[in-house]
């Protein structure tokens, strides 16, 4: 569809300007990318209100499996646990005695025992034991269960919401993306690679590095550039873009003239359907390529505020961007493949895992430099191209929310 328009790809047509006239086109002020005061408003108006993606349920398959997630922007830590009734719940990681953390890292347990004075909670959050209880004064144990955080599941993804009463359900927040991604075979896949970095970059500026293709020809000039670019699309413009209320989605096509390297050729023949060139096999996967663009490579799906869920033929990956302060972000990425049926599949998956990881290292290379630039005092605004409309959308959604619009 959009892809076979040579004018759209090589010419001067501004496809997103026409498709999304409500999105501004002028320069964007830098304050949202550098200001602690602005981050404070993002904390109150966004991170305390939205459903936030915490990870996959495969991480906690058995009763009593748990993991702790520290959410620095909210100055809090939660424990996410699968109870004896199989339900996944989230609790503040805070003992009701004197506030000590009741768990760390990840593991499996029947009870959480506070390391300070030995108060015991079960995996459904009920208080089960207070050491030397008679020494307390009028202690009402029925009111001392762990404080629970709203927790909902969608397609195996765990989301939590820190609002007292969430303004919308998880499904409402996911909106069109939940429909688009509903049938993607998430449950058939398992974690194959996972990486992270804590870098000096604002969480939106960091996310922007992963939601446009304009950087591909330069940042990835040594690697995946030619897979996406080539004569038809030298600047890796997106094949299609969908902007929703707060979420967004865009599709990239691959370069049909791309010549596979030996490891990529091997991975394609020995494996299942793997990244480079797999699109050329024209395999149909449910839940991807919503506008049926030719030469489909992958979709970037941005779940507002801080999660990208990118889907393709035979794999998906997740990016999380967690603000620590206005100019520091913890980024974590993970990639998922079908459970390898044999050694050939496993070897071929490792081809993608190694190349994804190395290209992500290229992606993050510019973030600290960009942040230093916007903080240098020499800039008042930055500029986004038509092909960077997704970055502009994130900026606009954030500014509306911090200004009190819902």
């Amino acid at each position: 569809m959009a892809f076979d328009s040579d004018n759209a790809l090589n010419g001067t047509a501004r496809i997103n300007r026409e498709k999304f006239p409500e999105i501004s086109t002028g320069p964007v002020p830098i304050e949202p990318y550098i200001s602690e005061e602005f981050l404070g408003r993002e904390r109150d108006m966004i991170f305390k209100r939205m459903w936030l993606m915490m990870g996959r349920t495969e991480k906690i398959p058995n009763n009593g499996d748990y993991f702790v997630k520290v959410i620095e922007v909210l100055k809090t830590s939660i424990v996410i646990v699968r109870g004896r009734d199989d339900k996944v719940r989230a609790f503040y990681n805070v003992c009701r005695h004197r506030g000590t953390n009741i768990a760390a890292g990840h593991g499996n347990c029947k009870f959480f025992t506070c390391k300070f004075h030995g108060w015991v909670y079960d995996t459904e959050g009920h208080i089960r034991h207070v050491a030397d209880e008679s020494q307390f004064f009028d202690l009402d144990k029925s009111k001392l269960n762990l404080h629970e955080v709203h927790c909902e599941l969608w397609n195996g993804f765990i989301f939590v919401n820190f609002d007292e009463k969430p303004r919308e359900s998880l499904l409402e927040q996911l909106g069109e993306l939940a429909v688009q991604l509903n049938d993607f075979p998430f449950p058939e896949m398992e974690l194959a690679g996972s990486w992270g970095a804590t870098l000096k970059a604002n969480w939106k500026l960091f996310q922007d590095a992963f939601q446009e293709g304009y950087h591909v020809a330069t940042v990835h000039s040594g690697t995946i550039n030619e897979y996406f670019t080539g004569k038809r699309n030298p600047h890796a413009r997106p094949a299609s873009v969908r902007l929703y209320k707060r979420n967004r989605s865009l599709t990239f096509s691959f370069n049909p003239e791309f010549a596979l390297h030996p490891s990529e050729k091997f991975a394609l023949t020995a494996g299942q359907a793997i990244s480079q060139g797999a699109a050329g096999l024209n395999i149909k996967v449910p839940g991807v390529n919503p506008e049926e663009n030719e030469l489909f490579s992958f979709d970037i799906n941005a779940i507002f505020p801080n999660c990208l869920l990118d889907t393709s033929v035979g794999f998906y990956f997740i990016h999380e961007f967690w603000p620590i302060d206005a100019h520091t972000t913890r980024w974590e990425a993970s990639t998922y493949f079908p459970k390898p049926a044999n050694a050939g599949a496993l070897i071929s998956q490792q081809q993608s895992v190694a190349l994804f990881r190395d290209t992500f290292r290229e992606d993050i290379a510019t973030s600290e430099g960009s942040q230093a630039g916007v903080m240098s005092g020499s800039l008042e605004e930055i500029n986004f191209a038509d092909s960077e409309v997704t970055c502009r959308h994130l900026y606009e959604v954030v500014t509306k929310l911090v200004d009190g619009e819902w």
Partner: protein, 124 residues
Amino acid sequence: MTNNALPRGFEDLAEFVPDWLHATEIERNRFRVAQPLAELKRFYNAMMPRLDGISSFLNDFPLHAMPRDCANLLELALMTMEVAPAVEYYNNPDVPESVEYEKFDILPVRQKYTVVESNPNTNE
């Protein structure tokens, strides 16, 4: 069978055992970036033409019960995939343009194969 054995037919790759055997992505990547490019190329050139044969040979063994010699061969193949971007793209052991290596965390992932230390079906 010694821990350093390779299955029959793959003995010519013995010079890479045990140095190039690493079970996790973290270890494989650390090893890769510490090798000179010429060594990476030597390994890649020895392994790449053999990968189709290695893959079809190993496909006869279930991932949940790999004999030690097969697991060794599998780890050489996984290392080849780790080395591939350095040889095919970068012509450099590490990613040339990125944040410092120490700032990038490779996080643990469950190992996808299990080694059975003695197996009567191989090297009988």
